[in-house]
């Protein structure tokens, strides 16, 4: 994967590379470079398949990370491009014209992470949720337990045991040797 990185480096400013396996690497890139890089990887380097487009919420850093994972079928190689975006008012360029499948990923990211992709088809339609008005649920500052307790009727009588403490008490009632 180092050769690919060095080849790309002659054309594009790249961030650091993380080599996960010998056939999988992640490269940090800037938002402005992403589109040209994707087109270059697809048309020149043979990374013709968009495996997935997903996001990670780095709450402490105040950033959202988008990962574009591409696959080269012929050489059986995967490369992921990581783009860091600000958490507030996150907007990203749509790539639905490069890979039409990206449209679905972008709809999901819009709903679950609140990342807008202007121009992407049906991006504001419901994806999995219907009528969601709260913080997007996959953002880490969204408290799902608190939301569930506030919204959904609760039945009393539910008990939860810490498995370790419970089994210790059950197996060694006198506190253990």
């Amino acid at each position: 994967m180092k050769e690919l990185f060095n080849r790309l480096k002659t054309h594009f400013p790249l961030g650091e590379i993380t080599e996960q396996r010998e056939n999988l690497a992640f490269i940090n890139v800037e938002r402005a470079q992403l589109r040209a890089l994707l087109l270059h990887l697809r048309d020149v380097e043979g990374y013709t398949h968009l495996v997935l487009l997903t996001a990670v919420d780095w709450l402490e850093e105040g950033e959202l990370q988008l990962t574009y994972l591409l696959n080269n079928r012929v050489q059986a190689l995967d490369v992921g491009l990581r783009v860091m975006l600000p958490r507030e008012g996150t907007v990203m360029d749509s790539i639905h014209d490069i890979w039409p499948t990206a449209e679905t990923y972008q709809r999901e990211l819009r709903e679950m992470f609140g990342i807008d992709f202007p121009g992407s088809p049906r991006v504001n339609d419901n994806f999995a949720l219907e009528g969601w008005v709260e913080t997007p649920p996959y953002r880490r500052d969204f408290d799902t337990l608190e939301f569930s307790e506030r919204n959904f009727a609760h039945r009393e009588g539910r008990e939860t045991f810490d498995p370790r403490a419970h089994m210790k008490k059950k197996l060694y009632p006198d506190g253990g040797a």
């Binding site: 999995a128 969601w132 008005v133 569930s148 959904f152 009727a153 039945r155």
Partner: protein, 223 residues
């Protein structure tokens, strides 16, 4: 219909009341939320015959449980073996039907997301009385392993009148057969009055339903 003022999620354009011009130039008003449905709330149908006749009716009802197998969650998997020769629920007078109109038992098989709850409510309302609801698994009882999920309800009986819960995660087909036998006992004893309970407490059920279904885009009662 949910009041336009207290909606958090606006009604989509195609469901709004509007004036449409026909091909012959004739203009007419269309209200998709009213025009195609009867919105009259359900009525109670208390037992009216003498006890022995009602008992006979209840016996007959208990012996023909026709299931609308709404495969909401993982519990739907446990219903498939029941249809096949190994467990063979058909020998108990239980069969699966494809539409709500032909069924009188709604099985909620596992967790219900808010999105599915909306469909389950419509399916329930389209079934003909007397009708019964059985909740499968701990998800319908108290949320089960989805107790902290942002998208699944935790208590089914807040939204639909449940006659019987079958505990388990998921209940085995044997547990389901036992549950059906228990439901038959309840019906024979005249205790399965879910449809009447729903009609009697219609306002409360609708309030609970609308509290979680924010994009309420269907009539209040569809049948």
């Amino acid at each position: 219909m949910k009041d336009e003022l207290d909606r958090k999620v606006p009604l989509p354009d195609e469901l709004k009341k509007r004036v449409i011009k026909g091909p012959d130039g004739f203009e007419f008003e269309v209200d998709p939320m009213q025009d195609y449905f009867c919105q009259e709330p359900p009525k109670e149908h208390p037992p009216i015959y003498v006890k022995i006749v009602e008992d006979f009716f209840n016996w007959a009802r208990s012996e023909s449980l026709w299931i609308l197998g709404f495969g909401t969650g993982c519990g739907a998997i446990e219903m498939r073996p029941l249809m096949t020769p190994r467990f063979d629920a058909y020998r108990y007078g239980i069969q699966w039907r494809p539409t709500p109109r032909q069924a009188n038992l709604l099985m909620i098989s596992g967790y219900l997301s808010v999105k599915t709850l909306k469909r389950a409510i419509r399916a329930y309302e389209q079934m003909q009385s007397p009708k019964y609801v059985v909740g499968l698994g701990s998800c319908t009882i108290n949320g089960g392993m989805y107790f902290d999920s942002y998208n699944t309800i935790k208590r089914l009986d807040e939204y639909l009148p449940v006659d019987l819960y079958i505990a388990g995660c998921m209940p085995r087909p044997e547990a389901l057969l036992k549950g059906f036998e228990d439901l038959k006992k309840i019906i024979r004893a005249g205790g399965a009055e879910g449809a009447n309970h729903y009609a009697e407490h219609f306002e409360r059920y609708k309030e609970n339903q609308k509290k979680v279904i924010l994009d309420w885009d269907m009539p209040d009662y569809s049948w």
